[in-house]
Symmetry: D2
Subunit: 323 residues, 4 copies
């Protein structure tokens, strides 16, 4: 099937779906562990889809700024792999899904000697932050921002209010970081790794920017505007496999089953996903696309309720699952 | 890139790769928990690839019979969904990867009330066996064999020696089944469910037959020879998502990262995998294909060492990852 | 302090306390996993205390028959040690408290290779049952009944209705037994060990009989009526240490802190405890005593609510803690 | 039996045993996580026993100074209970043994909402440190030192070299503390609680001082030299129950079975134990005694190898088990 409602242009369909699925937000609630997130309007929902030739479809609150939170884990992982190569990074963080909550510490202790299970959960992402090149948090962040800039064209801005809140409330992440330091899986000091990790979480974006990152991933690292291969294809492939198996916290399996696209969510309500470019010509997005979503009311797993609901509809109606 | 070695037909390349990767078998060993498996020659390696128009490429020990073991979990899951529909089945077994060993019982107790995490690990597969329609193990197996027959055209044969061995040594599976009975996740008696489960594990196949099943999955349930839709597309999509996230035991994440195809392995050394049909025309298999592999020396996770090694080469050289 | 209420004989005090603490039963409920236990009047409470010279103090429903359930684990452990000696038994079951529920299976898998943590939880007790001498469940039970008879002077009677119910509902225990069989910690067949285990659980007693067993433990294995050392002192000491650290399920630590006596409870509401004989002459029970309690309403851990409450009062007022 | 070797005074027997059990040290090794501990001579073994009338028996390296390490957990727990009362403290830390390693974090996450299982493992002891009265680490330590002084008569001295080493290497303890902060079980800031906790670990003692603490515990809080009740009896009883069930790390059950005395060990090789005063006149120590041991080579659980071996001999020959 080519589109959700015969006869309507895709963007009109999209706007109707956004209106419909926005109501799902009432089943979730905004993250409340820091004030900056708690005060967001939970009923927002926005989407931005970008195709390789630059066509952009948008609906709802697509321009509202939010912080990347866990979506930044994908960028951090790509950054570390770009500098060190894949084998070096995978020696320090595994790529197995766990079924555990994003901030779980159990598995670090159960599976000696504490190698984090994957870079999409906090423990792994903090290890990845510590691996970024540089002798200080500034240098590590500078490297990370450069990777980000290759895609979006601009240095990312950190939401200082969110960062300060995160920093003051990072007890669980500090516990993870100290655990990793103890077992030797942290490549720098705890505070340095945490600053990098929490600043990358606090990068401010809107759905257009994460759709743009998604698009570059869809094209295996090729940037369709700059016409450059900005990341090696092998690294991007690996990142997409990780997103599919581990990107939606402990609902990753259900998301793979119901939607079937590589995706990464954040507790601020963002979802970065994509349709890979290598699809047959009858598909809705023959050349792939990047998709950014923002819907701040999240479920118990940490995923945007309305966002996941909207993606299920899109997958069902537009036949965009990779399976 | 179109093929592994420029200028050579694919089948010649395949035969060379089989010769090369066969040596990897020395890094693994055959399953030894029952005599019938322990006596198999560990250095065997065979592959069969079938394309939608019936073209078949084979190499090595592709005709050697072996028992399906965990590969049958895919068929059992599809069978239960065909009868009850997806929602009924997913109420009784989840679809989350775990990172745990295939026979782990920990998670059943940790995550109350003991719903099995996914149908690709033993606990979930035993639940699925209990769900098959029928009032006896015979009726349940009859239904399952019918599903199998829709694909291969023949009633499956059970290797009685293997089944008897499995049955006598099924202590861990009995522990799982009794646990599931206690928590209410078994829909029939323990011994009945175990007979169904262990008989499906003991179905004798060769690589051609599992490649054929893989091909029907690649085509979303459409059988290219009988020209019939033998399974609903939604069920097949779900099965493929499960294979990708959970199909290679606790190395599923690494397999997704390194190979990037939906696959299911068994401890007898079989791997059933496939290239989905919905791929761009420049790919090596534009219309998809089913792949069956047999390499009985397995690693600590339970996957064929030479088989996985061969698939990595194919994925790298033929560019067949779904990501 | 010598007694709870100055001027009153101990037995009068005891009767008043039983009346008072009986009301605590409303905070618990009777075990309901089998009908035979579920139909018991929850508000019952009885106690029997026996001193070395045969003095017996009783109050409340002390004559009501009930099944030993987990209290029999102590007798089974002593029996196995009497036959094999302590080192042989401790090679097959550890003596560490766990903090886990009585029927937990997690630790068997987490701590390779699955040696049960202690003989006071189900996994360890089933292993102990399998160790009893004899080639059949009849012979093993015969040995066990003989041990019981050494203390009480009579062959124990099994409540057949309870046993049949237990046998039909033993899914979780069957799971544990099959797990132990798989890891090699079961010394006979699963069904044989389970029959022994569940029959010992179904032995019918009243508070006098368990007080009598407690008294022999208090005297380090010496039977004050027969004037014989019926069990070796080292085995009895070990059994008392186990009762103190592991005897009250996952509330053993709290019981040691609040009462401070070796004790073993059962889900039928029985508690067998004792004051060791080696106490200074100013104590309430200078020569030790055995204590049997019956109060069928149990808490979430599996211990008699009114029984534990009564023992706290006795420990506080009569100063009988071993610490 | 009254003594180990007929005809010899106890102190001579003790000296012979020390010489014999010293050789057991070769089965362990000194703690090596900080340099200050790693450089200690592993073959040392010393013991000091003090009876209520002040009689002191010593043997071996009883005068060698060492740091209290986990032995201080007992003093910290008593201190917190003296200030807040038992119920307040037990609302914030449980009293259940776990069978887990001393620095395990798993159970905090498994058993929501993360209440530490007992004050004898690191998580619980850090919580207790945070509970000490005072608005700063200095004030909290001042209170703790005062409790210590009530027993030994002198302000304790902190080994600054050890403290600095501990402070720099406290990653795992920082992980625990941050976890406790996250779940609300830390009553002050992380760094403040850690300073208190690590300074109490670094208090320098010899076997005489810990024997003196043990003696006061043996006498239920009564100090036989100052003739004062320095701690409430209920608190001391509770502390002894905790020592018995949880005091020897994850070998507490085995120690209770083999020795049968309340005890607390530290990774520096110290063991503080005692014979309660309430024992019959035929016992070796009719009025109780305090026992301090130092033997720095520790086993995998963290207990002095030679020290435990010596205590087993004493328990066997002198019949001092509380059971």
């Amino acid at each position: 099937m080519d589109e959700g409602v015969p006869g309507l242009p895709k963007v009109d369909v999209l706007q109707r779906w956004v209106a419909e699925h926005r109501t799902m937000a009432s089943l979730g609630k905004v993250a409340s562990y820091i004030p900056a997130l708690a005060k967001v309007d939970p009923m927002q929902l926005g989407i931005c889809i970008i195709e390789p030739r630059g066509t952009m479809m948008t609906a709802g609150d697509w321009q509202v700024p939010f912080t990347m939170q866990s979506i930044a884990k994908v960028v951090g992982f790509i950054a570390a792999c770009c500098h060190w190569g894949i084998p070096y990074v995978l020696d320090r963080v595994d790529v197995e899904p766990t079924g555990d909550a994003f901030n779980s510490i159990i598995r670090l202790e159960m599976h000696k000697p504490g190698k984090p299970f994957n870079p999409m959960i906090n423990a792994g992402a903090i290890t990845v932050s510590s691996l970024l090149p540089g002798d200080s948090s500034e240098q590590k962040l500078d490297y990370l921002y450069g990777i980000f800039q290759k895609v979006t064209g601009a240095r990312p801005a950190v939401d200082e209010e969110v960062f300060q809140s995160e920093w003051m409330n990072a007890h669980r992440n500090r516990a993870l970081a100290h655990y990793l330091k103890d077992t030797g899986y942290l490549a720098c000091e705890v505070e340095e790794a945490l600053e990098v990790y929490l600043k990358q979480c606090s990068i401010q974006v809107n759905t257009e920017q994460i759709a743009m990152i998604g698009l570059v991933l869809a094209l295996d690292g090729f940037h369709p505007m700059s016409r450059k291969q900005v990341f090696p294809k092998e690294i991007v492939r690996l990142a997409k496999a990780l997103m599919l198996t581990c990107g939606m916290y402990d609902a990753s399996g259900k998301f793979a089953a119901n939607v079937g696209l590589p995706a990464k969510s954040g507790v601020s309500g963002g979802i970065m996903t994509l349709v890979p470019a290598n699809r047959r010509s009858h598909a809705s997005f023959p050349d792939g696309c990047g998709i950014g979503i923002f819907g701040p009311a999240i479920d118990a797993c940490g995923n945007s309720v309305a966002g996941v609901s909207l993606l299920k509809e899109m997958a069902r109606e537009w036949d965009i699952s990779i399976f």
